[in-house]
């Protein structure tokens, strides 16, 4: 396996203004060679190649190497892209399982919240009815049969409120 540290040093020592074509050609050969064997360190190799490309002098004699370097850079870019998307995909089943488990908890929490809102609505209803009863009670006289009947009917409604809770 190619030592990427050595390769990085070789590229670092290249000079855009003083480096000769042989030095650049050799460095590119070494980078290409490393590309065949260092699958796990694709990111490092990409960075080394990028430094190389940025240093490559603008000389016609190096044009074939420029094309080779560009092709290799695109290959490594696509390899990174495929590798990273593949990694995300590989973890997706596990992530989806967790999301589903979380959804179960969300449903339960929403169910709890709805139940509490039911309590609130029931309590509101009861409070409203109680207020009406209180108003009627204020008008109540011991002999007023009509009011007594109305009051009994309201109390029955109040009793029915309890059925909301057990729904």
């Amino acid at each position: 396996m190619t030592d990427l540290n050595e390769l990085a040093q070789e590229v670092a020592s290249l000079s855009m203004t003083e480096g000769n074509d042989f030095e650049f050609m050799d460095a590119l050969d070494h980078i290409e060679e490393a590309g065949k064997t260092t699958d796990a360190e694709i990111g490092n190799l990409r960075n080394i190649l990028n430094s190389f490309r940025l240093k490559l002098p603008n000389r016609e004699t190096l044009n074939p190497d420029r094309v080779r370097a560009k092709d290799l850079a695109e290959t490594l870019m696509l390899a990174t892209l495929i590798q990273r998307i593949d990694r995300i995909n590989a973890r997706n089943d596990a992530l989806t399982r967790l999301s589903n488990a979380l959804q179960t908890q969300i449903d339960k929490a929403n169910n709890d919240a709805n139940r509490l809102n039911q309590i609130k609505e029931a309590v509101d209803e009861a409070t409203k009815t109680v207020s009406e009863v209180k108003a009627l009670v204020a008008e109540l006289t011991a002999t007023d049969v009509t009011i007594k009947n109305k009051l009994n009917a309201l109390i029955e409604i109040l009793a029915d409120v309890s059925t909301i809770f057990s729904a």
């Binding site: 959804q103 139940r115 809770f165």
Partner: protein, 521 residues
């Protein structure tokens, strides 16, 4: 007090105590808002990565048709691959919204229950003497039953604890019988096993499962596929084995690999972080190649401009030395006129150093000056010797320095003036040429500057987008950590009835939005 009245009062007391217990749930509205802001920022990172791939796939000036086609394929794969990540972010929002709704409903129910209890108490007083007490008790019993059900089976604490295992990437420490263990304060003990190597190991295990499952799933008929869809994931493998399409050894491999994945107990937050780290790598790879290729495409403009700039800098450098030389002559003459011999001698040494610098920059001047001084012969005294003496640290020791000063001291004023006038004439001539060169370079620079600037605008835009996305993704990673920390605080707050703090998450969310909207930061 009658038994009926005592019973009513007891019921009311029970309702009040239950709803007051419910009021200990912390306020998580701030956490909910911050989480929503955080996930919005992370979604932007996911979308910007997609936009980067789209932009790359449209650069036919930078990539070959073949490469563009491959980028387009990967763009589709990316869009499909990040869907579960976006769904998980939606899940985090939905979870906190549900929890917040629960918290708010709980709080309001407590308040309303209190009001209702008062009303019911008033009613009890109002209807005293009427035969309707049984109805009142029914209401109280209904409330009591419901509140008890909520308290025992659907409480907030339980929701938070169960969700913590899913989102935070922790798991309860249990004894051999499966019972959760508690610490000395009676709190549940949580373990974190989602270690640094989890991502790679989960990928390896998932790939192994897929390599076995995919051909098996493809071999199923329509009825089998339909039947399988209704099952839980763990039941699917058993069903496939029962149909004889999954061998015992493959079933064992799959269940073993599932155990590997489950044993890490990584949470939703961990998985989103793993994915964000992959997005960072995608951004770096695509942006880097795009930048270098764009730079290479424009190498003529960039190279020409930078080359003129470098040459002009050299010309200006030499011109500056020549001007310095001329300035030193005036200073030396002044010292000589003032009788400051010592100072004049030292400045003459500076003059020699300045001339040596010019020689280094321009060998033509060195040759011309040496020739002219050599021809000047006795009229210039020992000036040739002075000029030929190297003042390098390595070649001129103490003795050499003393000898140089002595030689300079022996040069008479007429000899010095004669030498300097000859040198100055050469330098003036050179300065004229350099000045013309400088003017030409400046004119060239002005001419190609618009092209150069437009190339730089393009390059800077690529670089700036890359940096912005990189920083956004970095901040997303730390914000996700802060989210998990806040959720852990929520667990503690629920158990200790202390208020929930989310200041760290708030700071991370501000950081994310400062990156997305720098001008409003």
């Amino acid at each position: 007090m009658s038994k009926v009245k005592q019973s009513r009062l007891m019921t009311i007391v029970l309702i009040v105590s239950i709803f007051f217990t419910a009021c200990s749930v912390p306020d998580i509205s701030k956490f909910t808002d911050l989480s929503s802001e955080m996930t919005r920022g992370i979604r932007k990172g996911v979308k910007d990565t997609e936009n980067l791939l789209k932009a790359a796939s449209e650069r036919d000036d930078l990539y070959s048709a073949e490469t563009i086609e491959k980028i387009q394929t990967q763009l589709k794969n990316y869009q499909k691959a990040v869907k579960p990540t976006v769904a998980a972010l939606d899940g985090l929002d939905a979870y906190l919204e549900a929890l917040n709704a629960l918290s708010q409903a709980n709080k309001k129910s407590g308040e309303n229950a209190s009001a209702a209890v008062t009303s019911v108490a008033n009613l009890v007083n109002a209807v005293t003497g009427f035969t309707v007490a049984g109805s009142t008790i029914n209401i109280a019993t209904g409330l009591l039953t419901l509140a008890e059900e909520f308290r025992t089976a659907r409480d907030f604490k339980k929701r938070v604890t169960l969700a913590a295992e899913i989102v935070e990437g922790i798991r309860l420490e249990r004894d051999e019988t499966g019972k959760p263990l508690k610490d000395e304060n009676g709190q549940l003990i949580f373990l974190r096993t989602c270690t640094d190597d989890a991502s790679d190991q989960i990928i390896e295990a998932s790939k192994r499962i897929r390599s076995i499952a995919e051909p098996v799933l493809k071999s199923l008929n329509k009825e089998q596929s339909k039947a399988l869809k209704t099952l839980q994931p763990e039941k699917k493998w058993e069903r496939l084995r029962s149909w004889g399409v999954l061998s015992d050894s493959d079933f064992k491999t799959i269940t073993d690999k599932m155990i590997v994945i489950d044993n890490y107990s990584c949470g939703v937050i961990d998985f989103i972080k793993f994915n964000v780290q992959d997005l960072k790598q995608i951004n770096e790879a695509v942006s880097q190649v795009m930048y270098t290729s764009a730079r290479e495409k424009n190498r003529v403009v960039l190279g020409f401009y930078e080359s003129i700039l470098a040459n002009d800098r050299r010309v200006q450098n030499e011109l500056e030395r020549i001007l310095n030389f001329k300035a030193l002559i005036s200073i030396i003459n002044q010292y000589v006129n003032d009788g400051a011999k010592e100072r004049a001698l030292k400045t003459k040494l500076t003059l020699k150093n300045t001339l040596d610098s010019i020689f280094i920059l321009d060998s033509e001047i060195e040759t011309a000056v040496m020739d002219r001084i050599r021809m000047c012969a006795a009229d210039c005294g020992e000036m040739l010797r002075v000029l030929q003496t190297s003042t390098d640290r390595s070649s001129c020791d103490e003795e050499c320095r003393r000898a140089l000063e002595e030689t300079l001291g022996r040069i008479t004023r007429p000899q010095f003036d004669r030498s300097v006038s000859l040198i100055e004439a050469i330098l003036d001539n050179r300065a004229k040429t350099l000045f013309e060169q400088n003017q030409r370079y400046l004119a060239d620079l002005a001419r190609i500057k618009p092209s150069y600037d437009s190339v730089n605008v393009e390059l800077n835009a690529i670089k700036s987008k890359q940096n912005q996305l990189d920083v956004l993704l970095d901040s997303s990673l730390t914000a996700l950590d802060a989210w998990a920390e806040t959720h852990a605080n929520l667990r503690i707050a629920v158990n200790t009835k202390k208020p929930l703090t989310a200041s760290k998450l708030a700071s991370k969310v501000r950081e994310i939005w400062g990156i997305i909207n720098p001008e409003t930061d």
